[in-house]
Symmetry: D2
Subunit: 342 residues, 4 copies
């Protein structure tokens, strides 16, 4: 059994990670830390876990975490970069669900996250945990940086096109719609039910932290600079991201075959039949990305529809997938949940 610890388990990625790890046949939950909730049984905060998770939150304690085989950081940015180093030195593998190790370029990271990065050496070492791109590297890593939710949906959607150089890479558009859980579990007026339900809005059009992360990934796929416009929208639902991607084709190709072949061996990317329109609910609670590719009217614009559950394939599920790869387990262990529909 792999002994797992979680730092900062009071948010939505935390409770989702608990749900998945509690059902993982090869994992034993060892510790979950929260400074503010120390002593509180996890199941008091998250009653869905009653009878399934017996742990209480504990104050962060490096000795306790060092007894784990793997530690997940489900924390805001700035936490993992301070704690990961010591755990790695003591032989613990670290999987960060936050943003601390996602962007290789330190000045870019510092600009978007508004603080100095305290562990640039770890940034260099960290493997970006998108298995569909980096599976081999992940399997050898000590430190994995799980992608953000938008970046997961957008990169998986654009990847086949960019790898093959099929589109004008200077004018990529990602129009993305996210459920409100992407904003986390912190109290705030903007995400109250009365503010965010029965309404739709774009936000952060001038610039969003996931933009440089996505761009970094797309540049790697394209092997060249890319021009990307990324517009996120707050959508009145709890879970789900729907990314609608637009690009201009440079030459003709069989797009359906391209996508099917690219993702043929991927257990968690499902290319839908031609003409399909994936719904976010088809992946609710499941570690799955479903993609459809369209070319409306046979013109030169390709439209890709890519859906994930932001808390699963966009966060906790992908973290577990990375853990499975890291430890040589079946990649799908603990990730068999079928999406809850309706």
């Amino acid at each position: 059994m792999i002994k797992a610890g979680i730092v900062g388990g009071t948010g939505y990625t935390g409770v989702e990670l608990l749900r998945l790890l509690a059902g993982h046949p090869q994992v034993q939950l060892q510790a979950i830390t929260s400074r503010s909730e120390a002593g509180v049984p996890v199941a008091d905060m998250f009653p869905n876990l009653r009878g399934r998770v017996g742990l209480s939150f504990s104050a962060p304690d490096v000795e306790e975490l060092a007894r784990c085989d793997v530690v997940f950081y489900a924390t805001p940015h700035g936490v993992a970069m301070r704690g990961a180093g010591e755990l790695l030195q003591r032989g613990v593998k670290v999987i960060d669900l936050g943003a601390d190790f996602r962007i290789k370029d330190i000045p870019t990271w510092e600009q978007w996250y508004g603080m100095a990065h305290t562990a640039p050496g770890l940034m260099a070492e960290a493997v970006y945990g998108l298995p569909e791109v980096n599976r081999a590297a992940i399997s050898q890593a000590r430190l994995v940086a799980c992608p953000g939710c938008y970046p997961t949906a957008v990169q998986l959607g654009f990847m086949p096109l960019l790898e093959q150089g099929l589109v004008d890479k200077d004018h990529l558009i990602a129009d993305a719609k996210s459920g409100v859980s992407g904003a986390g579990r912190k109290a705030g007026v903007g995400t109250l039910l009365c503010e965010a339900s029965e309404s739709m809005k774009a936000y952060a059009v001038p610039g969003h932290r996931h933009l440089p992360e996505i761009r970094q990934g797309l540049v790697q796929m394209a092997g060249a600079e890319v021009g990307l416009t990324f517009v996120p929208h707050l959508t009145p639902m709890i879970r789900g991201i729907h990314a609608t991607l637009y690009a201009t084709l440079k030459r003709d190709t069989d797009l359906q075959a391209l996508y099917e072949q690219r993702y043929e061996a991927e257990p968690f990317v499902d290319v839908m039949p031609a003409g399909a329109h994936p719904e976010t609910r088809s992946v609710r609670g499941a570690n799955q990305c479903r993609i459809a590719v369209h070319r409306p009217g046979g013109g030169d614009t390709v439209v890709v529809l890519s859906v994930i559950d932001n808390l699963v394939k966009g966060a906790a599920g992908q973290a577990v997938q990375n853990m499975n790869i890291l430890f040589g387990l079946n990649e799908g262990a603990g990730l068999e949940t079928i999406a809850l529909l309706p």
Copy 2:
């Protein structure tokens, strides 16, 4: 492996049953019938099942069903009573998620369901599938009638009080709130998103089909006639039933201890700590009933809060629980799903 068939799998209890059975370690899905959808892959209708359920709907065929060990009817009333007899004769166990065998008194059934009952003999034989009441009988049954969703939440909530004769049984009140999936997957104006969201209403106050079913169960618990007022409400959410129950205490007692003791050994009934208010989302997708008991102001009115997921403990999950009992399996097999929160 138990070979399972489903008759009528195109509704919400059908897809939920498929989700649970697809993940059940001791079940093999053999056939799923639908006259209207014959030939259509199940996963085309329910994309959450893509990659997990390979079956297509088939036209109803008694020969095929007779090769199963158990057949579930996830059909409107009137179907199971016509088909169950032959299957039972051929040694197949039958679990009806519909209403055909729930009410022992045939004239009462006929009055509320508006048709003649064609299998009164089977009605007599059928075991009412509320394991917390009838576990022993279920284990010996050939034919199980799964309780309705409201009846499950209401009966489990009232049971300890009635068994002990603690309340005025002539003035029981059950104010129940149900998510819209309780109305099924059929097209109808009243359950459109634009009609049923952002609104709350009572319905069927003059009388609802679940009223005689609940009354039958309460009478059995009380060992005497009962007076019950049952008011269901359509609530703007997909899943969940919240039953708020009121009764007048006849004598003092430790209600918290009463409930905890009554359900101590029940794997799927969770008595919450004193003072708690269970949320329906704490059981979303899970085969669980969570109950809290209150006595506001120390007066003589007891208030019981009982929540279930209407599609799971109120339908498909309870059906699987009954199957496990019928076949001598671990009662929780295939029912480990933790509720999806948020």
Copy 3:
């Protein structure tokens, strides 16, 4: 034109009051105060008011408020009782949408609101602003205490029964369901979309601040003590209260006629036809209470269904109705909005 001021307009009752007053033909908005938002145009916070309300929030200033004919307090409890006195002395009429003057018995108020009451003399003077009960007194008042949202729905529902002494007044039950806007616009985890949508729960079963207020009103109607169990529920929608009321009939009567006659002359109480089930959306945005009365199975339990929009008839609309009465205007002025459906 009546010059109106608002103290504390940054919450949901505040913006709703602004919406109604901006459309009132005989009102001129003079000032709206908020310490924290001073200087901010109201329409920057509430973009629905762009082009309709030109005011900015100003710091509270008694001189400015004293130039108004009427001042509305849309503040948490504890504010109006400190400011109302001086305004009244200077000839300004005061309408409190908060709780400061709702409960006549000072110790009871202090117990439920957890602070000392600083203006017991004003409490004695204040008129409880339920026009269907107190219209004449309101028309002569200087200070009006608008009822809470639950108390409005519950009192209007029970009134005809209690006035006529038709029911057992010792076992009244009010099972009430409220949209989330009843919790206000303050940041809090419990009312986040991800916590409060797709779920139903009771809260404050041991005791809610509206309980003593409702009981005070019912006692007045009954002319005697009453026993009331009040269970509020948080419902996944923005606006609306649905109160389901239960009482035991002591004698036979024509309930439909009783309700129709009692409310015949009331412009804002609509008795639905026999057998109806009012929906909260039928009053969304409108200053209306719709009521239906049932007697299921012809038994001795009466069920009353009473719906309002908590922000309109339960708060801002009722405040405007009171203002109209106070100033001798047409009672419906500015309250013609038809409910928004769907």
Copy 4:
């Protein structure tokens, strides 16, 4: 008083039209027809209209309609083109909220609507009722074709850019998100609450009937052919359209000033301040389009955010606005409703 009739008032555009006309100071509702509901009081179907609309549905009768000054068609396509001719001959003005007269090119119309057009002469005469484009022509018209909901939001968003020739007109992208009421009030599985809530999906990516209508409008603005990709999405809310528009700038310009000047005199188009993100709820129930224009990162991609209430500025409100222009009334008469927020 203008005597108004409505053909087909049982859908969402019908009830919305009733709400607006019932509050219009210069309109008298004369008749509302529905073959299926003849004899039913309108307020029985739409209880928000109780006490405000006394009419009953009547069977369609040309004599009765001919006594009106104006007749609104709130019908599926194919109805208005059969009835409008006779009414026009008898001197009645006709405003069609449906699709029959929106697309000038008959073969294009017939291709997308799948039937023969029976009144090509009227198509030629009809004025496309987008007041911001055609105000003068509308004021002289007998027959007005109200734009579709998506076309209203998209055309108003693109107009300033195309009129000034500022963008690459061959690669316009309109990513549009609509509330479910856009699908109408007909029973259908896809728009059930349990199917459409808590989920997001694109639909009709290969082609949607609003595409040729939008393109026709954009061509007129650009004075040349345009290339448009239009992707509509079903969004889990009742009302609202959020159109996110993308185009490539050909030259530098002050976009904020451009939009502010273009819409300076328009009573129902509100250009938001620079940097703003309009929410659909800010126009819920109001005849308003709110627009913001962005240029992320100072690049050559312009992003326009355009929101309307699909049932108001996208349907019934725009119809009333057209009526006001047709009859020389104040253009805003009956359209003063402030959006309902929250």
